[in-house]
């Protein structure tokens, strides 16, 4: 979706803030992160659905909320969407039903963090592109989740690396299946993306699924 999260290239945000980490972060950031990680162990959603939920808000709201407020806002909506919570429970703060058992305890959380969630999958279809091939990205503006940023649509680049097949976020985010596709690192000249103000030597790399690419 062409949301406010797709920030690449935007103007107006000023200098990069707090480059020296001078301000210690509030404790609730850690708790928001931990709640997000711990509830993921229910397996009712996936990382792509989490990102989709964080993006799915009015652009003005997205830019007003701080980082972990977006996480919490998205987490509440995901938990309602997947029937772990009701709107009424969120409103009242009172559980209607206390009979659940958490999917992970302290030890389970430790192993889940160590295990992670690899996204590479075996597929039967051979990759369409090889390292060195010239490709062009598609110019599409889906209303749903996608990982092809606006600034890189309809652009020509060169395949730098093939990563095997990975879970496809555009479907996985909407619970429409993993539909793994070949993933490539594609190199674009910075000037092709950003015009003559970019340095002639500089390049920009993106990791892009085969469905985002056609031969050029």
């Amino acid at each position: 979706m062409n949301g406010a999260h797709d920030l690449g290239g935007m103007h107006g945000f000023g200098p990069v803030p707090d480059k020296d980490d001078a301000h210690p972060h509030p404790e609730w950031y850690d708790r928001a992160m931990a709640l997000t990680v711990a509830t993921a162990a229910w397996g009712r959603w996936n990382i792509d659905a989490s990102r989709r939920a964080r993006e799915a808000m009015h652009p003005a709201k997205y830019l007003t909320l701080t980082y972990y407020e977006r996480w919490i806002d998205a987490l509440e909506r995901l938990m309602v969407e997947t029937d772990l919570l009701t709107e009424e429970e969120l409103r009242s703060g009172e559980p209607a039903d206390g009979s659940f058992t958490p999917p992970v305890d302290a030890e389970g959380a430790r192993s889940a963090l160590r295990r992670g969630g690899p996204t590479e999958r075996k597929v039967d279809t051979p990759p369409r592109f090889r390292v060195g091939d010239r490709i062009r990205t598609i110019n599409r503006h889906p209303a749903g989740h996608t990982r092809l940023p606006r600034y890189a649509r309809g652009q020509g680049g060169i395949v730098l690396r093939h990563h095997g097949a990975h879970v496809f976020p555009d479907t996985n985010a909407h619970f429409q299946g993993e539909q793994p596709g070949h993933l490539y690192t594609v190199q674009f000249p910075a000037r092709a993306l950003w015009g003559p103000d970019a340095a002639a030597k500089d390049t920009v790399m993106l990791d892009l699924w085969e469905a985002y690419l056609h031969a050029d």
Binding site: L7, G8, G9, M10, F13, V16, D18, K19, D21, H25, P26, D30, R31, A32, M33, A34, L35, A38, T39, T66, L75, L84, E89, L90, P95, G98, S99, F100, P102, V104, D105, G108, A109, R110, L113, G116, G117, P118, T119, E120, R147, L148, P149, Y151, A152, H163, H166, L183, T185, A190, L193, A199, K201, D202, T203, V204, M205, D207, L208, W209
Partner: protein
């Protein structure tokens, strides 16, 4: 100032203030633990992991070994996931790693324009600036200006390679080894490797900057 609303309706003004996020998180945590949806011990484990166990010291150890050991460096460049797991760092947000080598002619810089993808296993939770709108918006369009803000001035001859983490591949920059460190142990070398140097917004410290030679 307009007096349209008068002074008798402060509650109306107040109702437009968003709820305090700290209270909202506290309320959610309380609801989830009482409903049995999360285990309090799991929360403490997750917080402790990223506060005390997983952070940029992991990445510094990887980089220091790659400086000291050419075979390890080659392995890291060929198969970063395996080479990093060999030192015990694996798991969430480090499942598929790629190492990027800075040289005299190439400087690598990593961003995530769409969210905040970051190699947790070797660098921990990203700092606020990495997640900021300014960094996400600008690093990809004007990396040299952003680098200058971080105090990194590159020669025009150097190619900036900007990596936008759009998939589940996570990037670790291997900064250049500083001069004057010949014969240093891995432990000593690791003290020169800053978090920012492994994102590309910094360089490794010189022995003088680090303040003490081993």
């Amino acid at each position: 100032m307009s007096h349209e609303h008068g002074n008798d309706t402060p509650h109306r003004e107040h109702s437009h203030v968003p709820p305090d996020p700290a209270l909202r998180v506290q309320a959610l945590e309380s609801l989830l633990t009482r409903k049995g949806l999360v285990d309090p011990g799991a929360l403490e484990t997750i917080i402790d992991t990223y506060a005390n166990r997983v952070g940029p010291r992991n990445g510094a150890r990887v980089v220091a070994r790659s400086w000291a050991n050419p075979d390890y460096r080659q392995w890291l460049l060929d198969d970063a996931t395996a080479a990093i797991a060999h030192l015990g760092y694996e798991g969430r947000q480090g499942e598929h790693m790629v190492a990027l080598e800075n040289t005299d002619s190439v400087h690598n810089l990593v961003v995530c324009t769409l969210c905040s993808c970051y190699p947790w296993t070797v660098l921990g939770i990203p700092p606020g600036w990495y997640k900021s709108e300014a960094y996400r918006a600008r690093a990809v369009r004007e990396p040299r200006a952003v680098l200058e803000e971080f105090g990194v001035r590159l020669d025009d001859e150097v190619e900036v390679r900007l990596w936008d983490s759009t998939a589940e591949i996570r990037y670790l920059v291997i900064p250049q080894r500083p001069a004057g460190t010949h014969g240093w142990t891995e432990e000593a070398l690791a003290t020169l490797v800053t978090r920012d140097s492994m994102v590309g917004t910094g360089l490794a410290l010189t022995p003088e900057q680090a303040g003490d030679a081993p």
